[in-house]
Amino acid sequence: MQRMAYTFSFPEEVLEHVFSFIESQRDRNAISLVCKSWYEIERWCRRKVFVGNCYAVSPVMVIKRFPELRSIALKGKPHFADFNLVPEGWGGYVCPWIAAMACALPCLEEIRLKRMVITDESLELIAKSFKNFKVLVLTSCEGFTTDGLAAIAANCRNLKELDLQESEVDDLSGHWLSHFPDSYTSLVSLNISCLGNEVSLSALERLLGRCPNLRTLRLNRAVPLDRLPNLLRRCPQLVELGTGVYSTEMRPEVFSNLEAAFSECKQLKTLSGFWDVLPSYLPAVYPICSRLTSLNLSYAIIQSPDLIKLISQCPNLLRLWVLDYIEDAGLYNLAASCKDLRELRVFPSDPFGLEPNVALTEKGLVSVSEGCPRLQSVLYFCRQMSNAALHTIARNRPNMTRFRLCIIEPRTPDYLTLEPLDSGFGAIVEHCKDLQRLSLSGLLTDRVFEYIGTYGKKLEMLSVAFAGESDLGLHHVLSGCDNLRKLEIRDCPFGDKALLANAAKLETMRSLWMSSCSVSYGACKLLGQKMPRLNVEVIDERGPPDSRPDDCPVEKLYIYRTIAGPRLDMPGFVWTMEDDSSLRLE
């Protein structure tokens, strides 16, 4: 029986209008799967698309399907590239995307890239092809120089956002900034914190002065502290500031100038930068501390007492990124002062040292979990942990959604009982029912994976290193975690069996990374043959895997689902296992 759709009388524009209020990718995707007519209407009014793996789909496919795109976000290299596990030249080239979009999407306004390689030529193409280009965000990208930035500055009249967060830029000269014409006034957000050279400060001052909508400014280290007040005075409406180097000769007039300039920034909520901090300059920010919601001190070498003084003045802090100099004492203070804290990241000041250099233990984290009821996201580097502490944290914070614990020395057991940390992490997944992201460390057996498979039903991303005993561990995760999207594994004794038995699972995930494990070349070939919608990439710098026996384990394995087939831009040390079992020899 055919029932009449409630929306049968809607003209297309009305449905489009309804869809215009729906922005999240998941909801848009759901809409497109409802029925043929909704699919069609939705694709014509989709303005924004997020492609989590640039090799999962081809640029032409995306453009063909969404001809009215205004905004695209792409991710390239796997996350473990951040830890230098992905060899140079692996891929993630954005050029084909830029070329295709320059051709077919002249109205494109926003490009956001993460871990991709972009050249000056592509930047120039962007600058010249998109008349209304507004937003360029390059996070952890590489392959370009300041010449490319100059092209953007010179040509993008409507540019609002230029953000180079943590990218590797070949900084040829600071003059690129001067390419913004005098008539250009639309800047809202500028992040140049990754650049090495000094930019022309007078050009910067003039730029800031003529852009009344500027909200975010993140300077690079080369901007001297005594020039900061002048810059701030040009844009007192700033909401987010990243300072340059935070020290200079201690002079009272410099200090008071700085303090006054900060006081005038009544909207300032986020602070970062703080390279090479001279503690006596810290009080200059005290006047604005009460308004701060986000503080990034991950480059600031400040000892615990000074940190305590600073943080105790920030009762409205939602996010804190800090080095482990904060120590347990500082974290107790944080727990007492910042009751609204949502996110804490504690980075190691001396990760390669053999002995602890700071008094930071599991106790600091436990106290924050007790004192901050809204804490949801944690990244914590430390040297000792116990199951008891993890149990306490889990019970304190069932609202945790992201938990990344990095015990610096691999395979470190519970320091109190010398047992594996299985039960502690088990408690985390059991109590934190909405946990989306988890990173494991310490001594762990297959048992922890059994817990994760049993309880981690909402888990989307899991990072594992130096853990587990057998394929059973991997099998638990692949068969149990219903919402798993990204799995990255290094140095674990996982082999062929779990992978092959759960091959079908891999098509429901974005990607799987395994390095220094025991997956054989034969299994990779089999997987590639059996699963045409997966790209099974073997990354091996020892030479062609064919030159070794089939049962020899591969160095690195990257498996991702795709509807674009094997990629065409692989370097000599990457092999995609072909469906028809022919292999590329190079």
Partner: protein, 354 residues
């Protein structure tokens, strides 16, 4: 003189009297009154659009009755309103849209036909909130929509033929590159053999080619070698071209792709490689993008995997067997030739969770 009432006729033919001030809040009705002088009597009642039923009209009039009061109009910028009025308006609107989805859809449609934009916005937002967070099945259920996308479309809604010539050219280019890649692989494997076998000098080879040897196989072999060598040269050129337009700097012919002439550039790149490939490739077409597995090979793969699975089972401890048997269903799907049931179960998550 303005009459306080006007006459409206709804889709079912019934005619009713409505306060003019309130009805005029609808732009369509306003136009009918002012531009066409309609509505002043029962005889010249304004015919409302088909989509406006009596029940829906009643709702719309309620809305107009509230909003036409001075100060409540959506046309007034929110910051200009005192807080109390703003809250009152918001509260009314929120309550107003609380109704079942069917009526909400009818209301949206009717408001649209009457050109009453504020109400269209209000109802559209309400519909959007209903849709948010739901799965496609749930949305279909709520709105009584047909499930008419094919499995293929759900999984790969992008495999339709393209109309845009530029995109067709780009597709061709991709297809060609993939074919080139396959060719190169095949030739390289031939070359490898060649290198192992052929230790003769160039003179010897030439004498073969020139017909000094009566062995037909020999002649054939030499011809093949000649062709392969030419192919090898061409592919070296191609790979040089590729390297020049290689991974780090994707330029066409070593020049920047200029946006003004991008289509021409793409055609240029196609034709240049084309001339190089004239001997190597006969033709290529769009239908070349085929990821299907040859059935005979499929069978072979399935047998191998089953064999592997048997070996797997014999190695694993008992506990593993238990786990496997509980996951038996999934395992069967893995080994079936096309795994449609797996695809159907997970189709909606596939492409869209990239």
């Amino acid at each position: 003189m303005m009459k306080p009432y006007i006459w409206l006729e709804t889709s079912d033919g019934s005619i009713q009297q409505v306060e003019q001030e309130i009805a005029m809040y609808c732009p369509l009705i306003c136009k009918e009154i002012i531009q066409k002088g309609m509505g002043s009597s029962k005889n010249c009642a304004i015919c409302l659009p088909q989509r406006v039923s009596p029940a829906t009209l009643s709702l719309i009039l309620d809305y107009c009755r509230f909003h036409q009061v001075p100060g409540r109009s959506n046309k007034v910028l929110v910051p200009a309103l005192p807080l109390s009025l703003m809250l009152e308006r918001k509260s009314y609107d929120e309550k107003f849209v609380r109704m079942d989805t069917k009526r909400l859809c009818e209301l949206t449609s009717a408001a649209d036909s009457l050109q009453l934009k504020p109400l269209v916005d209000l109802t559209s937002r309400a519909l959007a909130r209903i849709i948010e967070g739901k799965s496609p099945e749930e949305i279909r259920e709520i709105f009584h929509l047909p499930d008419d996308l094919t499995e293929e479309e759900k999984l790969e809604p992008l495999k339709n033929t393209t109309d845009d010539p530029r995109i067709r050219l780009l597709n061709r280019l991709y297809a060609k590159k993939r074919k080139e890649l396959k060719e190169r692989e095949r030739l390289k494997s031939v070359e490898v053999e060649e290198e192992h076998i052929d230790k003769r000098s160039v003179d010897d080879l030439l004498s073969f080619i020139n017909g000094n040897d009566e062995d037909p196989k020999g002649i054939k072999t030499s011809k093949n070698k000649k062709k392969n060598r030419r192919k090898k040269e061409q592919h070296q050129k191609n790979s040089c071209l590729k390297e020049a337009s290689g991974v780090n700097k994707k330029e066409v012919n070593g020049q920047n792709i200029r946006h003004t002439n991008s289509e021409a550039d793409i055609i240029a790149e196609t034709s240049i490689s084309h001339t190089e490939d004239v001997f190597a490739h006969k033709e290529f077409d769009d239908g070349d993008i085929d990821d299907g597995i040859d059935p005979a090979l499929k069978e072979k793969i399935d047998r191998e995997v089953e064999d592997f699975a048997r070996r797997l089972n014999s190695d694993w401890p008992e506990r593993m067997q238990e786990l496997l048997s509980s996951g038996q269903e999934r395992k069967t799907m893995l080994f079936s030739p096309n795994g449609n049931s797996f695809l159907r179960r997970n189709a909606c998550m596939f492409f869209h969770c990239l």
